[in-house]
């Protein structure tokens, strides 16, 4: 029982980690986040469903198209809900991104309908025996993809020109400008990347949880907790925090029953922030007066 809890916990955790990476990427580059990241995840699943099931496209194509649209959605979020406020030094982006998320959720609700739909992956049902446990291919694929994407982000930020530029912006935005880096472009790219990650998470999780307009909200909020606990200052820290969160959640469900999962996990979040107001891995930013 513990074993299967660990497996599903790792899968869930890597999804949280992926969403949280999206928070990390935008926060690191611009000190802002898309607070409604859960909606981006939902859009990924909905787009994939529309292309794969409604329009009958081959799954790979549907996924690719869905990811493209998610990235475009990230551009929209940055342009409409973040840029008008962050450039003025206002904090209103927090609520503006929430508003955009509400619009996205409800637009989907009215076009997609209220019924959750199933998204069947052809290979999802196949399963393996590992250490005496039944593990489905999907349950293996999810953490694999999640960790691979985190690794890809890591490589991207160290080896690829645009990635190195974005990392530079993280550490010193003014100096980055002086290197010839177009900082506003970097911020927009960060948002596109964050919604891309969220969409990928949505596509992968859809077969397990069914697709409906509300699927992202709770996920997104927990992923936000993960990002905050992970200190929002390092990609690996965030991913690690995500895996930890997922495993802890699964274990609580397995040992105490699902009734207490939400209560305990959210209470732990409050306690963690009470004890470490800068997150588990974060550092206090030096105040300047």
């Amino acid at each position: 029982m513990i074993g299967s809890a660990l497996v599903s916990g790792l899968g869930l955790g890597s999804m949280y980690g992926l969403l949280a990476l999206g928070f990390y990427v935008t926060y690191a580059v611009s000190r802002t986040v898309n607070f409604a990241q859960g909606s981006s995840m939902m859009l990924g699943a909905v787009f994939a469903y529309t292309f794969a099931v409604r329009l009958g496209w081959p799954f790979a194509l549907a996924a690719a198209m869905s990811l493209l649209l998610c990235a475009l959605y990230g551009l929209v979020v940055e342009l409409l809900a973040v840029r008008p406020f962050a450039s003025r030094g206002s904090n209103a982006w927090l609520m503006a991104t929430v508003a955009l998320g509400i619009i996205a959720d409800n637009s989907v609700l009215f076009t997609f309908g209220k019924e959750p739909r199933g998204l069947a992956l052809p290979s999802a049902s196949a399963s393996l025996e590992i250490a005496g446990l039944h593990v489905s291919m999907l349950q293996l694929a999810i953490p694999a993809v999640g960790i691979a994407l985190a690794g890809a982000l890591h490589v991207f930020s160290r080896k690829v020109r645009l990635g190195k530029a974005m990392l530079a912006v993280v550490q010193n935005a003014d100096a980055a400008r002086l290197m010839g880096i177009n900082v506003p472009l970097a911020i927009t790219a960060a948002y596109a990347l964050s919604t891309l990650f969220a969409g990928a998470a949505g596509i992968m999780i859809a077969p397990l949880f069914n697709v409906h307009s509300d699927m992202g909200t709770l996920f997104g909020l927990k992923a936000f907790a993960v990002a905050i606990l992970g200190g929002i200052t390092s990609a690996w820290g965030v991913m690690l925090a995500g895996l930890l969160f997922g495993v802890v959640e699964s274990l609580i469900t397995a040992l105490l029953g699902s009734a207490y999962t939400q209560i305990l996990t959210f209470t732990l979040v409050i306690v963690a922030l009470a004890l470490m107001p800068n997150g588990l891995f974060g550092r206090a930013e030096l105040k300047k007066v």
Partner: protein, 796 residues
């Protein structure tokens, strides 16, 4: 007038509810209880500026408390209501413990988590809450034995909403309300006048929790049953919507917001399903177009011209302050392994002006921050009179009699001048004392720069301090205003206050100080009477760097080429008052030109404006035939004009190699050979090639910054204070490196505090003072001229 309008509105609401049919009664009740929750959240969000996305939790607590007490324990509703409010308030105060210690997204997370915990507890704690099915049959309250009915609940809700609104009105005008607004505008400034932001935020949080609890308590008998499905996350969002759409901080805001949120879906009955979608769009629209909500819009449209109330001029005597001496002993602090201040001891006596001076990066503001409680020193003691203050919270230190002003004025921007004074405990007499002759009802954020400084000083004085700390008060002021400021500071000292002044303007410092303390690289290098300090050779070395200038060989003249950089009538700067007021300069190809001047004169602002980090407000900049005045930094770099910025600004987490590679970001060609060239030029970088740049010493980082700048193969290099914070021996190496560059006929514009060194290197030089060029010519001539010494050390 306004009171009448509110009375009429509430009266009409009650009359309407007394006679309307049950559908409208239900609507009015919902409107009223939403308004109550809104008023509470308005205190938290509107007055105190703290966000919460979890207030549905308190709403649920109130509802379930009433449901449980009236259904199971058979209590009367009127007894259950205050219990519900109390429980909500208590939980709110408890949650405030973690919540009010964090800000922004972290606070949002804590409140969201709380909301989910309550919602899930409602589902799981079946024995008390009835689980998913909830509690049925909540009875309608009875009054004096007569059944109250839904109509009665609705009227009670309206009365409570009126009471809450009146309560908000009283709070808003009280000292608590002013304190909340102060915390919202600037927690730092609030602490500096003795307010404890934590206590204030906690009170606001508890009040908002009580209101949400009362709203929930009214919801229970109104709806007749209480289930978890009424207490979802989106309900929290709706509460926030009520406040923002109505107008955060305004009296009528929650009422207007509640009306819109509750009535609009009913009015558009056919589209009621789309209400959340509509609200999302409405929220976005409000944030874009009318951030002060509907009431803010109305206020702006109906604003009448207000008659300004000018403060009476005239000589006012300050009542003698509580006299005490500030004793600082062996103070020290380190940040991330760097000792920012070490073994700092000084004594500021009552009635005297003690000035703290030193080059940029010496640690003066760090010392001030420790004195005012902003930083906690890791060594040493601070005593005012007989009280030990080191390590105390800033607001406690303020209450102990230490007041302070800041480099960038920290006024409570949304409040008027008079209100800024009032909350510090003082009145217009302080404004007269500082010779502020403006409008007492003017909004602090709208004041011109010099007036902001005066009001900030007046506010500090209003706390009747024993010690007044001033951080570069003369920055950005005209000559005339600086002289008036100097006289003001002398008057303040004469009234008995111990004045501690951090300032760069030597005219001001030398003119009014009783004692001058000189700080360099975190240590005191001289202290005494102004005349003695001016003559001290160590001080002259720290400021003018003349000793090492002899190491530079006189320049073999190389023919300068055509003008590369042209700057004309340039005005630029932050805030209302441009630091640069009209700068003209020129750099020709193969020239090394130095720009000198005291700190605050505008040298760095000039460099940032040229480099494209700062947009000028007037004038023009041309480079190599291209107008770069409005070009953003990354495009200026592409043209071949590279700035090595002040403070080195390396990318600390990246290796030396990566930093160098980023320097060539704008180039498309192969850079391996250039990296090799840089490593030959700066051999110490080769040893550290794969180390994180943040671990390098100051001198090594400066070499790296220059090398990084050169990687871009620039046509022209801008160097902003390369010697800042470097030890004298390292400065030697640095200028030797620059010497090699000029031998290679590089085109360089150099700004540095080490005037002697810079002049030894340069062909020509400009001297900036007060944002304008006051001298220019061949470097040798400027060096011989006394105008430099005058600008730096106010020696006549």
């Amino acid at each position: 007038m306004k009171a009448l309008a509110f009375l009429v509105a509430f009266g009409a609401a009650i009359a309407f509810t007394a006679t309307a049919n049950s559908y409208y009664v239900y609507i009015m009740a919902t409107l009223a209880l939403t308004a109550i929750a809104g008023v509470g959240l308005n205190v938290l969000l509107g007055l105190t500026g703290q966000v919460s996305f979890g207030h549905v939790g308190f709403y649920a607590l109130g509802a379930y408390t009433v449901a449980v007490l009236t259904v199971s324990a058979k209590w009367s509703f009127w007894a259950a209501l205050p219990v519900a409010a109390l429980i909500a308030g208590a939980v709110g105060a408890l949650l405030a413990l973690p919540a009010m210690r964090v800000r922004g997204p972290y606070l949002a997370m804590v409140t969201i988590a709380f909301g989910f915990v309550v919602e899930n507890l409602a589902v799981e704690w079946r024995s008390v809450t009835g689980g998913q099915n909830g509690i049925m049959g909540v009875p309608q309250p009875a009054l004096l034995g007569l059944p109250f009915g839904e109509r009665g609940v609705a009227i009670a809700a309206i009365v409570l909403a009126a009471a809450a609104t009146y309560g908000f009105h009283l709070l808003s005008r009280s000292r608590w309300g002013a304190a909340m607004r102060a915390v919202k505008d600037s927690e730092v400034a609030a602490e500096s006048i003795g307010l404890d932001p934590l206590r204030i935020k906690t009170a606001a949080f508890a009040i908002s929790a009580v209101c949400a609890g009362v709203a929930g308590a009214l919801f229970a008998p109104l709806s007749g049953f209480v289930t978890p499905s009424s207490f979802t996350f989106s309900q929290s969002l709706l509460f926030v919507l009520v406040v923002i759409i109505g107008g955060a901080g305004s009296l009528a805001g929650p009422l207007v917001g509640a009306a819109i949120v509750v009535l609009l879906p009913e009015a558009l009955a056919a589209l009621a399903e789309y209400r959340l979608l509509f609200f999302g769009a409405l929220l976005l629209a409000v944030l874009w177009l009318a951030p002060d909500g509907v009431t803010g819009l109305v206020t702006r449209l109906t604003a009448r011209r207000r008659e300004p109330r000018i403060v009476a001029a005239g000589e006012v005597q300050l009542a003698p302050a509580r006299r005490a001496t500030l004793e600082v002993e062996h103070l020290g602090i380190a940040f991330g392994g760097v000792r920012a201040a070490s073994d700092v001891s000084l004594r500021a006596e009552a009635g005297k002006v003690t000035s703290l001076i030193g080059p940029n990066g010496a640690g003066k503001t760090t010392v001030l921050n420790m004195l005012s409680g902003f930083y906690r020193p890791d060594a040493g003691s601070i005593r005012v009179g007989d009280r030990e203050l080191q390590g105390s919270a800033a607001w406690r230190i303020a209450r102990a009699g230490v007041a302070r002003t800041y480099q960038t004025t920290q006024l409570f921007g949304s409040m008027t001048v008079g209100e800024n004074l009032a909350i510090a405990g003082g009145g217009p007499e302080f404004l007269s004392f500082v010779h502020y002759t403006g409008d007492i009802d003017a909004r602090a954020a709208d004041l011109p720069h010099v007036d902001k400084r005066l009001v900030e000083i007046a506010r500090a004085l209003a706390t009747r301090p024993a010690v007044l700390l001033l951080d570069e008060p003369a920055a950005g002021l005209s000559r005339e205003d600086k002289e008036r400021l100097a006289r003001l500071l002398r008057r303040i000292a004469d009234s008995g206050v111990a004045v501690v002044l951090v300032e760069h303007d030597m005219g001001v410092v030398m003119g009014i100080s009783d004692t001058v303390v000189v700080l360099d690289a975190g240590v005191i290098i001289a202290a005494g009477a102004p005349a003695d300090v001016q003559r001290d050779p160590a001080v002259r070395k720290a400021y003018l760097g003349e000793q090492t200038a002899r190491a530079i060989a006189p320049r073999a003249a190389a023919e300068p080429g055509a003008p590369y950089l042209q700057v004309g009538r340039l005005a630029a700067g932050y805030g209302a008052e441009p630091v640069l007021k009209g700068v003209e300069l020129q750099v020709r190809e193969r020239e090394l030109v130095a720009v000198l001047g005291a700190n605050g004169a505008g040298k760095s602002t000039l460099m940032r404006a040229i480099a494209g980090l700062l947009r000028p407000v007037q004038g023009g900049i041309g480079f190599d035939g291209v107008d770069i005045t409005r070009l953003p930094a990354h495009k200026v770099v592409a043209l071949g004009l590279v700035l090595v910025p002040e403070g080195r600004q390396v990318f600390p987490e990246l290796s030396v190699l990566h930093n160098l590679e980023l320097g060539a970001f704008a180039r498309k060609d192969v850079i391996a050979r250039d990296i090799e060239t840089m490593l030959e030029r700066f051999p110490r970088l080769r040893e550290r090639l794969h180390q994180r740049a943040g671990l390098l010493s100051g001198g090594e980082q400066q070499m790296l910054a220059i090398a990084r700048g050169l990687m871009g193969r620039p046509k022209m290099l801008l160097l902003d204070e390369p010697s800042l914070g470097l030890a004298p021996a390292v400065i030697n190496d640095l200028f030797a490196a620059l010497d090699r560059l000029r031998a290679e006929s590089a085109t360089i514009l150099l700004v540095d505090q080490m005037a002697g060194l810079a002049l030894a290197l340069a062909d020509r030089a400009y001297v900036i003072e007060g944002g304008r060029i006051v001298a220019s010519g061949a470097a040798r001539e400027i060096a011989a001229d006394g105008s430099l010494e005058k600008a730096y050390l106010a020696v006549n």
